[in-house]
């Protein structure tokens, strides 16, 4: 934890140096955290991406239909007012859990919409959950979830 804070401070200092708003660089989380994309459970994926973390369940809104008729394109909206460093999206319906990891520019707005493919929930016990983790610039983690049912799976092609 201390080390993370130290690194975070270092990064902030570097980011604060240029006078103008400078470009942050792109981060390819598939290259830097390959195991996060292979993980079969949300917990394992979170662990592979962030390590052992405790996320506070507040400040993150996840919106999706309670019952999605078409699993091929389930609309998901993610919002948070937390000054975020990264935002990660997971679900427990598909073979692997990770859906997206956003690298949020400094001062960036967390208001994302995307459409995702989900398997029908009756294929895995009926409890579909989308989990979003926000890594704050304060070094803390925040979590939001949305439970849903998917009537027709979208992964069968």
């Amino acid at each position: 934890m201390k080390r993370r804070k130290f690194l975070g401070l270092g990064l902030m200092a570097v980011a604060a140096m240029p006078a103008t708003l400078s470009a942050i660089s792109s981060i390819d989380f598939r290259a830097t955290k390959p195991d996060a994309w292979k993980a079969k459970t949300v917990d394992d994926a979170i662990k592979a991406l962030y390590g052992e973390i405790k996320a506070e369940e507040s400040g993150v809104t996840v919106k999706a239909p309670k019952v999605a008729s078409n699993g091929g394109a389930v609309p998901v909206t993610i919002k948070s007012d937390i000054a975020a460093k990264t935002v990660a999206v997971f679900q427990n319906m598909d073979p692997e859990s990770a859906v997206a990891v956003f690298n949020v520019p400094e001062g960036g707005i967390v208001d994302y919409f995307l459409k995702i493919k989900l398997k029908a929930t009756d294929e895995n016990g009926g409890n579909g959950v989308i989990t979003v983790i926000v890594e704050g610039r304060d070094g803390k983690f925040y979590k939001g979830t949305m439970a849903l049912q998917v009537a027709k799976g979208g992964c069968e092609g």
């Binding site: 598939r30 073979p95 990891v101 520019p105 960036g108 919409f113 995307l114 459409k115 092609g157």
Partner: protein, 104 residues
């Protein structure tokens, strides 16, 4: 415009961007069933000038022809600025398209 449909518009202090990318987003399971090779977008970056405004690593579970939206603050951008969106897929293909931001 063959690969992406982009709409970018400033409203108040914020620019809203809507994108529809044309891509099969073939998952490993779907590819197996069809006897094809899996291929899906793995990364999307959007820039205005040299400033990154959206940067996401993606998985096979984004929908076919993925649609996505995002917002960013319009500070520092001016009339005529363009948003440039680049995606890369598993096969290594990279596509970049740009669009003028309306209302700046």
């Amino acid at each position: 415009m063959a690969n992406m449909k982009i709409k970018a518009k400033a409203r108040g202090d914020v620019v809203g961007v809507k994108v529809l990318a044309k891509h099969d987003m073939l998952t490993y399971d779907q590819a197996k069933a069809k006897g094809k090779k899996a291929n899906f977008i793995t990364h999307i970056t959007a820039k205005v000038g040299d400033k990154i405004v959206y940067d996401v690593s993606t998985s096979q579970f984004w929908s076919k022809n993925p649609q996505f939206k995002f917002k960013f603050k319009k500070d520092g951008f001016k009339d005529g600025d363009k948003i440039s969106i680049t995606w890369t897929d598993l096969s290594g293909k990279t596509v970049t398209e740009d669009k003028k931001i309306k209302g700046l």
